[in-house]
Symmetry: C2
Subunit: 304 residues, 2 copies
């Protein structure tokens, strides 16, 4: 089913769609709704996890895993886990106490459809389930690989990574004085860390040498930042209809962003420079890294 | 330092104090506050994790681990992890969107001292860190043991355990029609699952036989329920000063509890019967289980 990704890795839209389909199918299975009154939290978890999305992080897991001959089963489990973590972070970030967003992935946010309490619990449940999926993952019988994945995912998602980045972001929200260094660090924590995990997961699964894993880390660092610059550009130039979420919120809040500091043209130039740099990092993988090359460009050219 | 627990396990107050001291010391190290604006979330995590508490769950880990000759280092890491998970659950449960509590462990709750957003993130950070601690734990070089701990902790804490229990509890809050079966199931998920993990963790670390682990599971089931009945009794009869948290909230809300269904005397009798049953389950361990026997009684006799 996701053969193009594994055996004929050339056409990005096909590969993205097939990867998303396979991950969604696994998530659907993981989120089977039980009988009993706890069903409500499962329904909220499903609602958010099954909302249409790019499934970029799972794709990065599969594409990087394909470089190292990792089995599809293993890669898919890690891909699903990272999407669960990403979904949890969206649900919590959207809460009234945080970014107070009504729209996400083209739908009302989780707390709008359910309520704040259910949304908090749904996020908690998704985060916890992600670790369960990794702990039970099929890693060719090697539990040390699972522990390494779990440790690295926790570091990337926790207070030293994504959670810390969101903490900085909340404080920076009304601070237009942030400089480019501070914004870069904020984004490296908030979105970069999980993207790095996604790109390196394949190397961990495939027990690649540290210097090879390092290349993917650097690639991830560059596309992660480019992704965020593109996000800032979409917030400044895109429509709600296009992006599926509220836009023009940064300027409204007087928030310092890559666009407010570099300007529209400067931000576009910087994003393209980062993509070029990312491509350079995966040169050594040759044709096998074709999808990683294409997705790097997709990250800045996307319209949602 | 925690020698009494390991070599002379007879005096519960000493063992509880020494176990709590050792766990608090490890948590203090884990929650070192970094430089940078993400410090705020670490401070909130510390504030809640270092609030005075019984540290019952970590104690159960250490006491059960002592039955199987598990090293203190291993047991302490698992003990710290479970206390991080417990603290996260308290922070999220206390939020205005959930139970809206102002007082916890004798102090203002996390969101009162910081704000709702920081409290949500602090909970997220603690939960994530708990998995990191387990993934990096010293398990005598056996990563399969770490994976088993992580998988079981995730199942106990997630939507099929604690998170699911809290979801049911929120819906049951204004429902005085719940029967004893429904309340028992609610509490088994909400508090019982993590107490079961705490009691079985030692058996997992010590690679005990399934039937031996089962005894601890049954012991945990009984003391977990007894613990909750004692909680209901404290809410009905205790003072805020004694318990360090808001009291008389169940009756105010017209909530069905063990006390509202069984009456004060009936609830007390039921709690004592559960403790007797729990003692029976650990008989076979002989004098080595002296602390587990004492803590079972402590659970229902405590005043906070």
């Amino acid at each position: 089913m996701i053969s193009s990704l594994w055996s004929n890795p050339t056409h990005l839209p096909t590969a993205l769609a097939e990867s998303a389909g396979a991950v969604d199918q696994l998530i659907d299975k993981l989120l089977t709704v039980p009988d009993g009154p706890e069903a409500r939290v499962y329904e909220a978890m499903r609602y958010s996890a099954q909302a249409p999305g790019k499934r970029l992080r799972p794709f990065l897991v599969l594409a990087s895993a394909s470089l190292f001959g990792v089995s599809l089963t293993s890669a898919l489990q890690v891909a699903a886990a990272i999407e669960l973590v990403h979904t949890y972070s969206l649900i919590h970030d959207d809460l009234p106490a945080m970014d107070n967003s009504d729209l996400r992935r083209g739908r009302p946010t989780c707390h709008k459809v359910y309520d704040d309490a259910t949304a908090i619990l749904a996020g908690d449940g998704l985060l916890t389930m992600a670790f369960e999926v990794l702990a039970d993952a099929d890693t060719h019988g090697d539990p040390a690989v699972r522990c390494e994945l779990i440790s690295y995912m926790a570091k990337s998602a926790g207070a030293a990574g994504m959670v810390g980045g969101q903490m900085i972001d909340l404080q920076a929200e009304h601070d237009p004085t942030l400089d480019i260094g501070a914004i870069t660090r904020l984004q490296r924590l908030k979105t970069g860390a999980l993207i790095a995990f996604s790109c390196e997961a394949g190397a961990i699964l495939g027990k690649a040498a540290p210097e090879v894993r390092r290349l993917l880390h650097n690639y991830a660092h560059d596309i992660g930042l480019a992704f965020q610059i593109a996000d800032d550009l979409l917030d400044a130039e895109g429509t709600e209809e296009q992006t599926g979420k509220s836009v023009a919120r940064d300027a409204e809040a007087g928030k310092a962003t890559f666009v407010s500091i570099l300007g529209l043209e400067g931000a576009r130039k910087q994003a393209r420079a980062l993509v070029d740099q990312a491509l350079h990092h995966v040169e050594t993988f040759g044709p096998a890294a074709e999808l990683l090359r294409q997705v790097a460009s997709f990250v800045v050219e996307r319209k949602s």
